[in-house]
């Protein structure tokens, strides 16, 4: 990865693009999703490439309004890449179909990759740490959550935006075809799963209140089960639900099932 020196104009454009790329979900519609943010992010760049009100400018704006959806962080990367491609297009080196195709081709893989890095891994870790602290009444947990999960996204956005712009299309072939993305996703998955497992042990419980009178004294069923494997019922409940999700159950149905189970259980004295 060779570092490219940016001109003063490029630097100011990239800075504006970075700030605007933070508006990913503004006026999000199911038809165009993040297109408005993409247009706004690209606009400072387009203004330096095309003349105002020229047909080329209108075409470029129209292109920027096509359906767009990915994770909030790689939006900056794709915008940086599009900046480079639009520049090449103005010089006649890249045609519009390539711009459209690369944008469309990158949405899926980047969304998957950054969901697994930020959403399923970093967020879970940050929340795990924050929950531990906040439970003790320490507001520091919330602050750490913002720093670990929020601020890091902004830093990543800046790095990816400049990387996308300076590396251009050559980069895509290297990274996406090398197989490293799958490895990265899998390793983030290991970390994410460990955290989910840890938090399941901390928080998920099936609080049954059954006791059996053996004559010699009361036996608390929950204690018996926990002595076999701590929190066994919670783990069983979790994997029953994982199976149901794989069978196509919606989260709302699971919530409904638990409510009915809990209310019926409370009525018959199970809880």
């Amino acid at each position: 990865m060779a570092k490219k020196e940016f001109t003063a104009q490029e630097n100011s454009v990239l800075k504006q693009m970075w700030l605007r790329s933070h508006m990913t979900f503004i006026n999000f519609s199911m038809t165009k999703m993040e297109a408005n943010c993409f247009t706004m992010t690209l606009m400072p760049a387009l203004k330096t490439i095309y003349e105002a009100d020229s047909p080329e400018m209108k075409d470029a704006l129209q292109r920027s309004q096509s359906f767009f959806n990915t994770h909030a962080v790689p939006l900056a990367f794709i915008a940086g890449l599009t900046y480079a491609m639009e520049k090449d297009h103005a010089e006649g080196k890249v045609d519009t179909t390539t711009i459209e195709n690369i944008k469309a081709a990158l949405m899926g893989p980047t969304a998957g990759m950054f969901d697994s890095l930020f959403f399923n891994c970093l967020r879970v870790i940050a929340a795990g740490i924050a929950i531990g602290l906040n439970r003790q009444g320490n507001f520091l947990g919330s602050v750490i959550f913002i720093l670990l999960y929020g601020v890091t996204q902004s830093i990543a956005k800046y790095l990816l935006l400049t990387a996308g712009y300076s590396l251009g299309t050559t980069f895509i072939d290297q990274v996406f075809n090398s197989g490293l993305i799958q490895v990265l996703t899998k390793c983030a998955g290991v970390l994410g799963l460990m955290m989910v497992g840890a938090m399941t042990a901390q928080m998920v419980g099936v609080p049954i209140a059954l006791t059996i009178n053996t004559g010699a004294g009361e036996v608390v069923i929950a204690d018996v089960i926990n002595s076999i494997f701590p929190g066994l019922l919670g783990v069983i409940l979790l994997f029953v639900m994982v199976n149901l999700i794989k069978k196509g159950w919606r989260p709302t149905q699971l919530i409904g099932m638990i409510f009915i189970f809990a209310l019926v259980g409370a009525l018959i004295g199970l809880f």
């Binding site: 006026n27 199911m30 929950i131 197989g179 840890a198 189970f261």
Partner: protein
């Protein structure tokens, strides 16, 4: 202060936080229960309850959040209402937590009703705006969002000002097993979020790491920071050992291409 005044404060916090995050940061971070619940507690005069509830609510809603625009429950609105319910009625935290998911589901249903009505027809308008008046596109987007975002805040205001005290009075009249059931449900409901997360990340090859994390808590009683560090060490080691294999494979492929041999892409995993 009256309930109406407090409800206004909470609605204001909700408005500013959602405007800030959804509009200008896109972190999906400040709108999480762990941040908004303490803030709600702060304006209602009970910061401590807000902080503690933030932790519990974050656990409940951890897996239940928007991916690609669809979600099962609105964690932000639910957190505001659950904290307001607990503080204004002076009930235990458990009651507020138990009510948070049903409230979040109802609130989300409301959002899913109005958001397509407001935002979807605008998509065509925005396209024309972008092409024809690019200079005002930015400011128009900001203004439109600032106004559209008011809707949820107004609903939140009404729900807290006129709903939570009445809700408590209503629940008090119900037989005791109902609140006991809701309490039992709340610790099982945390499992729903974790089940969604698990099913997203799960892969038979790495599934065993779930139990490693579990055992580190259940038997070794480690805290989450320690487990995050252990997990990071394992993930980094795995990454580099896989990377070496891939690098070797790519080198072989490159050498094969140079020699003019046709080599098919192998699926490595």
């Amino acid at each position: 202060m009256s309930t109406v005044g407090l409800a206004f404060k909470v609605a204001l916090v909700y408005y500013l936080v959602t405007l800030c995050d959804n509009g200008f940061l896109s972190w999906q971070c400040l709108t999480r229960p762990i941040v908004i619940a303490p803030l709600t507690g702060l304006v209602l005069g009970d910061f401590h309850t807000g902080i503690v509830m933030g932790a519990e609510l974050e656990a409940v809603f951890m897996g239940i959040s928007a991916i690609g625009g669809s979600q099962a429950a609105d964690a932000t609105l639910a957190s505001c209402i659950a904290v307001a319910y607990t503080i204004l009625n002076n009930t235990g935290i458990e009651d507020g937590i138990a009510l948070s998911l049903p409230i979040g589901t109802v609130m989300n249903g409301f959002g899913q009703f109005w958001q397509p009505l407001v935002y979807s027809p605008m998509a065509a308008v925005w396209e024309k705006e972008a092409v024809n008046s690019p200079n005002t596109f930015f400011i128009k987007n900001v203004c439109f969002y600032a106004i559209a975002n008011l809707l949820n805040s107004v609903v939140l205001f009404v729900a807290i000002a006129f709903g939570v005290v009445g809700l408590n009075a209503f629940l008090d009249k119900l037989p005791p097993f109902i609140m006991r059931g809701l309490g039992a449900a709340s610790s099982m409901m945390i499992g729903v979020g974790f089940a969604i997360l698990t099913s997203m990340v799960w892969d038979n090859e790495i599934g065993i790491w779930f139990f490693v994390g579990y055992v580190l808590v259940a038997y070794a009683h480690l805290n989450t920071v320690a487990i995050a560090l252990i997990g990071a060490a394992i993930a980094i080691t795995l990454f580099f050992s896989h990377k070496r294999v891939i690098d070797a494979k790519n080198e072989l492929l490159a050498a094969g291409v140079k020699a003019g041999a046709e080599t098919g892409e192998e699926d490595f995993f």
